[in-house]
Every structure is written in structure tokens, then in C-alpha cells.
């Protein structure tokens, strides 16, 4: 085998003990990093699964985010393209790669097509992941909600009367166009309320609920108020 041909001279190094030493050192370093990271990122454990709570919006682990983002662009009848056609294509392409990219030189600079495809894939994956994280943040899936204070609840009540009560019923007052929110806090959670305010269509595609332009603090106040209405 060509690759096994000795490079000659006294400089040759063998797997044992030479390479073995490096591997052990690397392994130790990896272990140390993992231990450190495991303290920084505590393994999460949320509330116990509740198959009845359909308002929960799950997010996958970060390494699957790019794929979920991709799926968002294939909706309705196109779903199969995202869940089936594309993955199958990528899989077959990967399998065939060695038979497609033949030739002598392995220097990336002299393999423009391979390099371009590789970069394109890496950038798309990174880009989709970034978009997904940004959207999550905007839609509040990863919301870091400030703790609820009495002040916030009072402000939230005030805002609710001004912007929402024309449609929504509350404690026997308010409009009839929209669901009564007197006990909204026992039906849903705060993150869900935030998301409805940000994007009313998540309740129903054809909703008449209007997008009320509240600032972040105002929205947090309203959601704090409503989540306490039990």
C-alpha cells in the first residue's frame, strides 16, 4: 500500500508509544473541556411532559435547528420535499461523492468545485441555524421573561384596558369579538401569551386579532398581568 511506505530515515514515528502519547493527552484535554462545559451548560430538565398542553412549542437541539428552519420554507403540499426528497438527495449525493469527485490532486485550492460545494453546504447550515435562532428569539421561543412584579401587573392591566379590551372580555367587561380572557392564565402559559401578542396568527390563520405594536417592556407587562388571571 502506497501510504504505508516508510518515509525513511531516523525520523519515523510509530503508533506506540509516540502517537499513543498524543492521543492520551488529547483525550485528557477533551475530558477536561467536557467537564468544564457541563458545569457551564447545565443539562436542562423542564416540566414533566403534558400531552394535553398543545400550546407548547418545542425546539430541537441546536444541531437540528438548521433542518427545522429549512422545513419552514416547504409548507403545505411541499412538505414532502423538505422531509423526504431533499434528505434523500443529500444522502445519495454523499454516498456518491467519492465517485463524483475523482482525480489526482487532493489540494483544495485545485478542486474548486468540491471546495465550493463544501463551503456552500457549511454556510447554508450555519446560516439556517443563525436565522432559526434569531427567529426563535423574535417569536419568543427562547424568551427570557423578566420576573413578574406588582408594578408590572398594574401596568399590564392598564395596557390591556387600552389596547385589548375593545375585543376581549375581562371580568365581565369588554368586547365580545374575541375570547374572554378572565381565566387565560389557567389555560395557557406566559410565553404563549407573548407569542400571541407578537404574532396573532398562531391562534388561527384567519384571526381578526390585530397586531398591537407594544414595546418589549409593555408586552412583558401585559403577559405578566394575563398569566396571573387564573
Amino acid at each position: 500500500m502506497e501510504t504505508d511506505s516508510p518515509s525513511g530515515g531516523r525520523d519515523r514515528s510509530f503508533f506506540y508509544p509516540h502517537q499513543m502519547f498524543f492521543e492520551c493527552m488529547t483525550a485528557l484535554a477533551v475530558l477536561a473541556v467536557l467537564v468544564a462545559l457541563s458545569f457551564v451548560w447545565q443539562a436542562p430538565l423542564e416540566e414533566m411532559a403534558d400531552p394535553g398542553d398543545v400550546t407548547y412549542v418545542p425546539r430541537p437541539e441546536w444541531y437540528f435547528l438548521f433542518y427545522f428552519q429549512l422545513l419552514k420554507y416547504f409548507e403545505g403540499p411541499l412538505t414532502v420535499v423538505g422531509t423526504c426528497v431533499l434528505p434523500a438527495l443529500v444522502f445519495v449525493l454523499l454516498l456518491l461523492l467519492p465517485f463524483l469527485d475523482k482525480g489526482e490532486t487532493v489540494d483544495v485550492r485545485k478542486r474548486p468545485v468540491a471546495a465550493a460545494v463544501c463551503l456552500a453546504v457549511a454556510f447554508s447550515v450555519a446560516g439556517l441555524t443563525a436565522v432559526s435562532i434569531l427567529e426563535d428569539e423574535r417569536h419568543g421561543y427562547r424568551m427570557v421573561l423578566p420576573p413578574i412584579t406588582g408594578e408590572q401587573i398594574a401596568e399590564g392591566q392598564d395596557l390591556f384596558r387600552r389596547f385589548c379590551q375593545s375585543c376581549h372580555g375581562m371580568d365581565g367587561k369588554g368586547g365580545f369579538f374575541a375570547p374572554d380572557l378572565t381565566q387565560i392564565g389557567s389555560r395557557t402559559n406566559r410565553a404563549y401569551i407573548e407569542r400571541v401578542i407578537l404574532q396573532p396568527q398562531i391562534v388561527s390563520q384567519t384571526t381578526i386579532m390585530s397586531l398591537v405594536p407594544l414595546s418589549d417592556t409593555e408586552r412583558h407587562a401585559v403577559s405578566a398581568y394575563l398569566s396571573r388571571k387564573k
Binding site: T3, L34, L45, P58, R59, L95, V106, V108
Partner: protein, 222 residues
């Protein structure tokens, strides 16, 4: 040490075996003491080390974990908060998934960059792709096991994706779930897939992968 070795060697004739494992030459371009760039040849080995760690921590998690909807969450909570070093072990197992994905991706990137999938290593590349799928599958099935909100709903979404495959999708999704809803049977299935099926296949494919690496040697940059 040498006396023990001699004792074993006289009886089992170990020397040829060990020679064949330990005495192969490391090519210069893959030797970190000679070129810094050789570090990218370590990614595969690091991935392997992380998988070993996952197996080890996983076995400890299994000491307490109960794969039933009533007990799964409580048992993970117990591991996390009540047992000695439980949170530590679980933390490593959890960070390990991320590390495994990162290292396998880097390893794959290095193989692409150095064009190492070319003849004669096509088969090893294909074995590698199956390894990638097996690692991804382990991540997906492990995600359900804590049976918290995230676990449950992420799995529901994932299985619905399988269900959207034309023709076979419905059948496959039902087979994964053990019914039409994510429930007790799903949890047991995912648990068994996570701790038995996928590890078994990982071992098989890793053995093939390493066997081929040894037979073919590390590719040489041109």
C-alpha cells in the same frame, strides 16, 4: 509489569497481536509533533473517545433511569438532584452529544478537505456516512428519554415528519410510536433503540471503519 506481561505472553502468545496493533507507522503529515496541521487528523480519534465517554456515562444513567411515562421524569429528576454525582454524569452525557456532533462534523470536513474519500477509501467514506446517521439517531432518540415538555413535543414533531413521507410514512411513524400517539410504548421503543440498537450498529460500523483505516493507512496529501 513485565513479569505479568511475560506470564501472559508465554501462554497466549500476545506479541504478534500487539505488534500488529501498535507498530504501524504514523505518516509525518499526520503526526502532531511535526506539523500543527496534523491536528485535524485527531478529530476522528476525539469523536471516538467521546463516544466511549457517552457509553460509560450512559451505563451509569441506566442504573436509575426508568423508561415509563410515570417514572421517567421522576427518575431523571432523581439522578439530577438526589444521587451522588448524578447531575455531573448527566451533564457530561448531555454535553457529550453536542461534542460528538461537533467532532464528527469536523472529522467529516477534514476528510472532504483532504479529499480522503477518493480511491481506495470510498467504502470507508460510506461507512462514515452511516456512522453520522447513527450518531444523529442517537441524539434524536435520547432527546425523548427525560420525558419533559421539550422531549415530548420535539419527538411528536419529529415523528410527524416521518409520517409525512409518502406511502411508507404512516406505517413507519406508527412503528416508531407503537401506536398513533407518542406514549408509553414510544418511550420504551426509543429507550431500546437508544441503548441497544444504535450502539450495536455503532460498534459494527466503527469496527469496519477502523479496520479499513488500518488496512488502507491514512491518506497522504499530494
Amino acid at each position: 509489569m513485565s513479569r505479568v506481561y511475560k506470564f501472559l505472553d508465554e501462554r497466549l502468545n500476545l506479541t504478534p497481536l500487539i505488534r500488529s496493533i501498535a507498530d504501524h507507522e504514523v505518516p509525518e503529515h499526520a503526526d502532531p509533533s511535526k506539523h500543527v496541521s496534523a491536528f485535524m487528523y485527531c478529530f476522528g480519534g476525539i469523536a471516538f473517545f467521546i463516544l466511549l465517554l457517552q457509553a460509560l456515562t450512559g451505563v451509569f444513567l441506566m442504573l436509575y433511569y426508568v423508561p415509563s411515562p410515570e417514572d421517567a421524569y421522576a427518575s431523571v429528576n432523581y439522578i439530577e438532584n438526589e444521587t451522588a454525582f448524578g447531575g455531573f454524569i448527566r451533564g457530561i452525557h448531555r454535553v457529550g452529544t453536542t461534542a460528538a456532533v461537533v467532532m464528527v462534523s469536523l472529522h467529516m470536513l477534514r476528510v472532504v478537505l483532504t479529499g480522503s474519500y477518493r480511491k481506495p477509501r470510498e467504502l470507508n467514506w460510506i461507512a462514515g456516512i452511516f456512522l453520522l446517521l447513527l450518531v444523529a439517531g442517537s441524539c434524536f432518540t435520547g432527546y425523548l428519554l427525560p420525558w419533559d415538555q421539550k422531549a415530548y413535543w420535539a419527538t411528536t414533531v419529529g415523528v410527524n415528519m416521518v409520517a409525512s413521507i409518502p406511502l411508507a410514512g404512516g406505517f413507519l411513524a406508527d412503528a416508531l410510536r407503537g401506536g398513533s400517539e407518542v406514549g408509553a410504548l414510544t418511550l420504551v421503543r426509543f429507550f431500546v433503540i437508544h441503548v441497544m440498537f444504535l450502539p450495536a450498529f455503532l460498534v459494527i460500523f466503527l469496527a469496519a471503519h477502523f479496520f479499513m483505516v488500518r488496512r488502507q493507512g491514512i491518506s497522504r496529501p499530494l
